[in-house]
Symmetry: D2
Subunit: 344 residues, 4 copies
Amino acid sequence: MPVRVGILGATGAVGQRFIQLLDDHPTFELATVTASEASAGKTYREAAKWRVNTQIPDDVAEMTVGETAPSAVPDDVDLLFSSLPSGVAREVEPAFLEAGYVVSSNSSNDRMAEDVPLTIPEINPGHLDLIEIQRDERGWDGALVKNPNCSTITMVPTLAALDEFGLESVQVSTLQAVSGAGYSGVTSMEIIDNAIPHIGGEEEKMETESRKLLGEFDGTGIDLHGMDVAASCNRVPTLDGHLENVFAETAEDASPAEAAEAMRASSGVDLPSSPEQLIHVFEDFERPQPRMDRGRGDGMQISAGGLQETTDGLKYNCLAHNTIRGAAGASLLNGELLVADGWV
Amino acid sequence: MPVRVGILGATGAVGQRFIQLLDDHPTFELATVTASEASAGKTYREAAKWRVNTQIPDDVAEMTVGETAPSAVPDDVDLLFSSLPSGVAREVEPAFLEAGYVVSSNSSNDRMAEDVPLTIPEINPGHLDLIEIQRDERGWDGALVKNPNCSTITMVPTLAALDEFGLESVQVSTLQAVSGAGYSGVTSMEIIDNAIPHIGGEEEKMETESRKLLGEFDGTGIDLHGMDVAASCNRVPTLDGHLENVFAETAEDASPAEAAEAMRASSGVDLPSSPEQLIHVFEDFERPQPRMDRGRGDGMQISAGGLQETTDGLKYNCLAHNTIRGAAGASLLNGELLVADGWV
Amino acid sequence: MPVRVGILGATGAVGQRFIQLLDDHPTFELATVTASEASAGKTYREAAKWRVNTQIPDDVAEMTVGETAPSAVPDDVDLLFSSLPSGVAREVEPAFLEAGYVVSSNSSNDRMAEDVPLTIPEINPGHLDLIEIQRDERGWDGALVKNPNCSTITMVPTLAALDEFGLESVQVSTLQAVSGAGYSGVTSMEIIDNAIPHIGGEEEKMETESRKLLGEFDGTGIDLHGMDVAASCNRVPTLDGHLENVFAETAEDASPAEAAEAMRASSGVDLPSSPEQLIHVFEDFERPQPRMDRGRGDGMQISAGGLQETTDGLKYNCLAHNTIRGAAGASLLNGELLVADGWV
Amino acid sequence: MPVRVGILGATGAVGQRFIQLLDDHPTFELATVTASEASAGKTYREAAKWRVNTQIPDDVAEMTVGETAPSAVPDDVDLLFSSLPSGVAREVEPAFLEAGYVVSSNSSNDRMAEDVPLTIPEINPGHLDLIEIQRDERGWDGALVKNPNCSTITMVPTLAALDEFGLESVQVSTLQAVSGAGYSGVTSMEIIDNAIPHIGGEEEKMETESRKLLGEFDGTGIDLHGMDVAASCNRVPTLDGHLENVFAETAEDASPAEAAEAMRASSGVDLPSSPEQLIHVFEDFERPQPRMDRGRGDGMQISAGGLQETTDGLKYNCLAHNTIRGAAGASLLNGELLVADGWV
């Protein structure tokens, strides 16, 4: 029996990726799509300015777009994916939760809320147990799970691998693709022959979300990881794929070879969208590169490379596809975990 | 009386910048240009594939290109600028020094040699006194002065300003323009919609040259600065202008405001190519940007911005024009200092 | 005595170019700047998101932005430049004309109106005489003059030169820079690693405006040139500078050499913003190129190249800076002509 | 029984595409790869700097690269694909033909030779009969077939469709991707924020090859099509996918709708690499776009759009993937035709 799913905010850039990834999904069946009032009532083909470079699945193209409200979602839908703008999500998600829906959300609101699991299935699946606390405190029948920001999720799997040596401090610089800002987020006049050394709110997300993801669930809440994280975020003229330079200090010395071994040992989990190996580590220092490597593992594998010693620790580079592993794919994988763990 | 100067390796990308910058220079008069054997004997117009977006000065266009050998340089030339490939420079520069020429060189060979001054006139002009030791040891009548690598020179003025608080450790990530690799150094297939997380030798240059530049001349040699430096270097699809993210720890706490004040207090020196203010500090966190800010101070001013506290220190961004402040302009400014200090 | 001028719509991309070009203009003095209601009352520095890569002139930065209404413009302003969006211009320009202002407008509305001169001073200055008819018909004290679209103005000077051989038919393909669509007109997701074979309304503008520009004023109106023009317009990932491929048939055979001679013979006019030579013709078939050649003649010279015979005529390429010669500089030059001819 | 095939010049950009396309080919089995002397004896993984964004098939990676000489090719290889540089191909291809090999070549030499078929299987399969004449005249046991240049092949299927109305004259402007020049053919300094209005030899190829492709085989040779073709070729900052603007005049009037219908009626042929529909015609004038549409039909379908009337005929745009339909895929498809028609 397939799980019937819906997408809240289905016409935007991440919404389109959801549709692309759900096409031929082994266990999920797309049953409903919602968007803003202006789009409601149109067919999806009319409502969405389709930008993904595969074609709209025919059946989705003919779906009627619903309003983003619980009343517009069929009762037999079991799981909702949200790619709403965070301002809208903040207003609208609670109504779905009260109505009993399980929501796997990519929106940035509430990621650091104490009773909201922020999860990457390969890293901290146990954080889903926060849902019990969430239901107790909020009186919801549904459940809200978030995935981290695209820049955070790119580095956290590598940090998780290094944490066996006791992570103490992390400095990270990002080279982020324009798709991370949505279809119209970065104008061509801003970015051609240029780079922008600031992305509003992004640095703080990396600094806080990473400590929650690597934190411990102690039965009542998440005890944040104690490492210091400092991030500098840059926008560059790349379409997809965030590349990051990490400088890490660990309590116990880790050689580049040991660090690479720890990364390579990070395995995927038994869910349809998880790659077999979580992190591919390159020996060639010129890799990973966004255009060459963002597609590894259908966009769900993390790439790393350039592992070298510094006086105080290690430096290395990592990369992930920001709208697949860093957005729609991340929510989808959380949805698969919610089903596997019996929350749906 | 103008100083008569020559350019060794005048047809390449940096050589063309030398010609552009020497046009209308107040005290230097271009008397000779040299290039490889294949170009010798041609007019400059024929020999150079001119790529700079101003036109070749008419008088230079008609100059006959000489061989890169002391015998081909007129006797009344007082000062030579070198933009030879480092492999060629290693072979050829000594011959010019033995022949008594003063050479201000942008080539990367010998930058870390113990008796070769590596200078930025606004930062460590006193290092020129190494020339006495150089002459003693090598038996040269001439003098060899180097400027640092373009990625190093972008951050060192900001580090020099912060050193009043006692620099202890620096992590730096670079977003470097394609022009840094020379005209044919980066193919379009490599870099469009992409970024490359490695530039051969660049990280080591930043890690060592910066410690020499901020070191002390103790009468016999340069005592390297004790700070730790770790660099990650990236190539991005930008034409000119290197942008760098710096994380710095200092012995004494420095607030972002104090750091900005120290940077703003860095003044230029009384030489034609030095800007009035060495570092422009932006309040707007979205600046500096390569395309918008590389031209400040005719390409000779450093820009900084994004100053923020981290748990252990500061983070900020800096930017310079890599083929002006970071190459031809750097050598030219060293040449001006050599004249002002009486070495020419 | 300087002519006091104002800019309607001064905060946009073309408005910023006006300010840049008016800085140090020999005869014009910027007296007032207007923008939308949202900006009125702010200083120009606050109201404009400054994007041009020179700095805002200090005196302009501190000007108070006025509303775009005749009542907000000082009485001693003699000449207004308009870079309003065409929808706004359609509503607002008549009020200024009724109030007696002379307006040199870059906005696309009314360019083909029978009593509105569409002029390029080097090509059809006599069309200004339409102003008499305009005043008669509309009862205006002021005068409205338009410059053509940026894609039209790039090719028309070359067509004017070829018309001595009797132009019969023109096919033109354009490679247009993103700045032609305004600062936010083309998103980075649309254009990186891409090209778009359509620009709304552009093809028709080229097909009609060029025939008006090369038409004859017969005392009562403009007799459109009889040539056929077919245009295909493309957007490419270039910042500034429109490049165009032209295929032209003439009644009388013209060899490439004769065509080049005719183009080279096109001279500028005796106005401050007109270049000495109107068209620079390259022998090198790889030129003109947008980045290399858009700055020729301070952005006011047309470049041409690649002149070759075809079975039926000629093919060649031409290029102009779309936001200088193709927009702000075009209006400015028309303003200079209006002053020289005594209309101001 | 699979057909055993080899690739001459397997390490270059087109060679890599051959390997990618041959992976999982239904009837071809890659048996041998050759390259220059410098690469011979190495494994393919060592010899090729792999640039395609899928991974090297494991079995190919471990193949030993042979010299490009008949003696180095196993006897049981039936069909060779050539992506040699044309200068090398001119020297080397005859040796393979004398040795009896059938060669489907992408190299540009000999495309216009009178006894060499230049074929697109969906357009002019009958031209293969020239092989009889070729064998007679040259005394070869093998056979040499060429596919056209990437810029030619992009437009010819659309011209073939229009030829039912009697093609008389064609003007075409191209916006060509950098991959058409090979991996190192266009430097990033040349093309970022730029366009180049000339590609050496390309215009002539379009003007001659298209007339041969649409010509008639009269039993002794190809009678070139009588239409006039004039081409202007531009390089733009796009990775893959050539976009072309065509202006066409036909003897009989064709409306845009009739032209679209003729294009849509062009079907593929019954060969593994031929798409079901040869030309996809868009109604949306903003399409086709290189990044969005180059992948249609696995890179083998032609896209068209923007069909409009002009005074003398039609204008429209077309697009194809230049290294698949325009190079490796074109040779592969010719190979499939050679097998189907019994030449192998």
